[in-house]
Symmetry: C2
Subunit: 245 residues, 2 copies
């Protein structure tokens, strides 16, 4: 039986999604162990979007196979029981057929990046947003973001450790929502390069901080070199919101 | 000089706004001490909405007087410095004239109550929302809420310890915003009875949980007795959003 699960997690205390050789603090291994604890079966969990250390998820999706047939609500509840106090929760579980693959069947990944733009310290959302002290020019950020829409070579926006063979990606949507001192930047694409979202955010913040002419974004794109783009925004402001299949 | 300050706090670890005889864990005393630490003046802080233990604030307002004249941005920064690691932050400080009183000049108080309605455990917002496991009938809650709008005797919706002489209050606005499994209930009025917002929320949740006929709300109002209304919703879902002057 193949199960698709939807997962929420607070990434703060984890080294990221992926199982590590020398650490047990991966989200993948924590859930694999929880499922083993009530099924007695060793599973391998495949996810739709491998998140880095510190990145949160509202709607990560993964799948796994087990021999026995268990009601989906029992998969959810029993896994949650064994995940108690781990900062991970299974929001939903369902049976899918064997052609479904959390990674390869995904049609679109949705990320959100949360910024708080003020000088006063952050209390209620500490650890869940990136605080920018200097006032941001949001209009310029919106203009600059438009250059990233569509199909481009995103070499300037990928980590030096990115293993992807093809740096060409298509961004379907990028929007900036402002609510008082909060900015929510939403980005959707079929897939992303390593750190692509966080480098895009770091670059947009640089435009907003220093009121850089938005059309400079075109130059950054065409240079195809990592050091032309801005910093990699911190992980704790990033949320994997959901994945479409 | 009179200063008006706007304050954000995480109420979880405090016994509430008001200074206590046998405890130092009040928000009022914590801020009074912070101001004393850099001005050397003992102040008395008056707030616009005394919040109970565990209640959070996004925009509490308070005022205090000191002899010396300090630039407002210094009031904000120096107080924040001395509030470090207390879960309280001064968002804004400004000079006001002596006719301004945080409590008596207030024209409207805005509260928001946050509910998450799902069976799966809450991870990212644990401690910041009230989790209701059973699906809520939100339509019924919206209908029932309408009966509370306007001027009523709210005796059914006040704590047995409420010291207000007059139980008649006017609710100017009450709206329920649904976003997936989240409910945000916003309530505004010139002033509230003790626990009024939390009892209103507890009662609305009872309507939504058990699909009670919305017009039963009228009966609860007219009975004017606390035990006709629902439970007092937990403090940790409640936010003092702001105060109009």
């Amino acid at each position: 039986m193949r199960y698709k699960i939807t997962i929420e997690y607070n990434g703060s205390k984890f080294l990221g999604w992926q199982k590590q050789k020398y650490s047990i603090y991966s989200i993948q291994e924590t859930i694999e162990n929880a499922v083993f604890n009530f099924t007695g079966e060793k599973i391998v969990l495949y996810c739709g979007g491998r998140t880095d250390a510190g990145v949160h998820a509202l709607g990560q999706v993964a799948h796994f196979d087990i021999q026995q047939a268990v009601e989906p609500y029992r998969i959810r509840n029993a896994t949650n029981y064994h995940l108690k106090s781990t900062d991970i929760a299974i929001i939903n579980a369902e049976i899918v057929n064997e052609t479904f693959h959390a990674r390869f069947s995904a049609k679109k990944r949705h990320y959100e990046y949360r910024i708080i733009n003020r000088y006063a310290p952050v209390v209620l959302e500490a650890g869940y947003v990136w605080q920018i002290f200097k006032p941001l020019n949001v209009e310029i950020m919106c203009e600059a973001a438009k250059y990233l829409l569509g199909k481009h070579n995103f070499s300037s926006f990928r980590s030096k450790y990115c293993q992807s063979k093809n740096p060409v990606k298509t961004i379907d949507n990028i929007e900036i929502i402002q609510n008082k001192d909060h900015l929510y930047i939403r980005i959707s694409a079929l897939s992303f390069l390593h750190n692509q979202v966080r480098i895009i955010i770091g670059t947009l913040v640089e435009f907003g901080r220093n009121s850089i002419d938005p059309n400079q974004m075109l130059k950054i794109l065409t240079h195809c070199e990592r050091n032309y783009a801005g910093i990699t925004a911190p992980a704790h402001g990033l949320y994997l919101v959901g994945i479409d299949y």
